[in-house]
Amino acid sequence: MAKLNVNPTRMELANLKDRLQLATRGHKLLKDKQDELMRQFISLIRKNNELRTEVEKKLTDAMQSFMMAKSLLHESFIEELMAVPEHEVKLDMGQRNIMSVRVPTMNFRYDENTDPKNLQYGYLNSNSELDTSLAELTDVMPDLLELSEIEKTCQLMADEIEKTRRRVNALEYRTIPQLKETVYFIQMKLDESERAAITRLMKVKDMG
């Protein structure tokens, strides 16, 4: 391990000792942060996995019944039914802080008088399979939103974990050993020069 390129002086030794202390404290804190991030990340990932399987299944079902409905109707009929959206949906975005990672929180906001499950459309140019698929798609929306929230959170946390891990590793395997070695080197050097001074003194006394 390479030591730092410094002058072996007492002043430098004191500086390095301070830095070593700081690095050790920082390392401990970062390690704790990393552990906590990991803990939260793992539980989120687990939830994400469950939710994704569920949402994917629901979406596949909905798409399948939509395909069935579509295969019996002219495409323009369906597009016409949905050409003008009946409800207005607003998406509220907020922020939440997990271990200083800012993650998004999202919520749908409907007008007070609208019920998202009560879509009105003409029955003539639609069929009951379309009813089913629309109901299924409306159903999956809140889950889909939650999934996107969790996935984004996981992504942001994964970035943060990677950053933290790099810092922890840099401190653990580079900064701290380097500092320790340099401190040891200066200490040795200083001891050596002290011994050299004593020997010199003894020699001078002998000569006298």
């Binding site: 295969s71 016409e80 009946e86 089913t132 109901a135």
Partner: protein, 334 residues
């Protein structure tokens, strides 16, 4: 109009009927291993010209609509009473009205959704929506347009366009039948409205719609009184199935009831009503005179398009043949 007035038109229609796809065509398409092979089978049918285009682009809707459009143009040109063809094409005219109203209301361009089928050109409908009057269109169109305009002015609810026009479509259909004045046509139109009302009721119950909604959406032009149907709206699917089995549509309803849950299944109602209407139309095959062969042929064409779309969509998405077959509608020919 005398029944014999249709003689020459009916001869032509008989020739056209020979070009309709047969059960054999569908079976071969169903047993095809992929989409391309299924499309290839259309090569020995009147759809042959667009086969390569469909294989490249997979836009089979365009192919079906082209053929459909041509069939309507042709029939409008030689059938002695255009009202007769209009009975079948009215659905597309009303679809166009809906699109045009939505265009007018939102200012967006929905022209890609228009379907160029109908007795009157789309430009005429557009002009009528814009000005509220027309010298060309029948007064029934203007009545429908006025009703929607009034609703839009009062409540600004665009969804009402669909619902009002669906109801007006049935009223308009009945007026057309009255204009034709043939008892068989009247009967068929009434039957069609009844079947649609049955499907609407079953779907509305399944979606737990309010009775208010049913009152706006059901047509009063059928033979089952609208009040009875609206009353049915508050029952569940089991009771509704029981009550409806006591009407003259017993056989359709009984076939649409799920054997396990005893509930009326709206998906099956859709299929059974389509088939029942086709059975009614099949009588037309044995008629030499009168307006029925025209109606029969046009409905046969409609079902043909529906079935081809179903098979191609199924093949495109890799559905098993069995699942496609059970959704296929009854064929006009043998």
């Amino acid at each position: 109009m005398q029944d014999t007035a249709y003689a020459s038109a009916n001869v032509r229609i008989r020739v056209y009927e020979n070009n309709l796809l047969t059960r054999g065509h569908y079976e071969r398409m169903l047993s095809a291993s992929n989409f391309e092979e299924a499309v290839n089978i259309l090569k020995d049918t009147p759809y042959r010209n667009d086969v390569d285009f469909v294989k490249e682009t997979k836009k089979y809707d365009e192919l079906l609509m082209n053929e459909f459009h041509m069939a309507y143009e042709d029939l409008f040109s030689f059938v002695p009473q255009p009202e007769l063809v209009e009975i079948s094409s009215l659905r597309y005219s009303y679809h166009n009205l809906k699109v045009l109203f939505k265009e007018e209301y939102t200012g967006n361009d929905f022209s890609s959704l228009l379907i160029p089928i109908g007795r009157y050109p789309v430009a005429e409908l557009r002009q009528a929506i814009h000005s509220g009057k027309s010298d060309v269109l029948d007064p029934e169109y203007i009545d429908s347009i006025q009703e929607v305009k009034q609703e839009l002015d009062e409540y600004h609810n665009v969804q009402a366009v669909d619902i009002i026009l669906d109801r007006r479509y049935f009223t308009h259909l009945k007026i057309l039948a009255q204009k034709i004045g043939h008892p068989k046509v009247m009967e068929i139109v009434e039957y069609y409205i009844d079947l649609n009302n049955l499907s609407t009721v079953s779907r509305a119950i399944k979606q737990q719609r309010t009775q208010n909604f049913l009152t706006t959406i059901l047509s009063s032009s059928g033979s089952i009184p609208k009040k009875e149907l609206v009353e049915l709206g508050k029952e569940d699917l089991v009771t509704a199935g029981k009550i409806l089995s006591e009407t003259k549509y017993r056989s359709i309803i009984e076939r649409s009831i799920d054997s396990e849950t005893k509930e009326l299944d709206p998906v099956k109602v859709d299929l059974e009503t389509d088939d029942a209407y086709m059975k009614k139309m099949q009588d037309a095959r044995l008629q030499a005179f009168g307006p029925l062969p025209t109606l029969g042929y046009l409905y046969a064409k409609e079902i043909e398009v529906k079935n081809i779309r179903l098979v191609l969509a199924g093949k495109e998405n890799g559905l098993p043949a069995e699942q496609i077959r059970e959704r296929m509608r009854l064929n006009y020919g043998t």
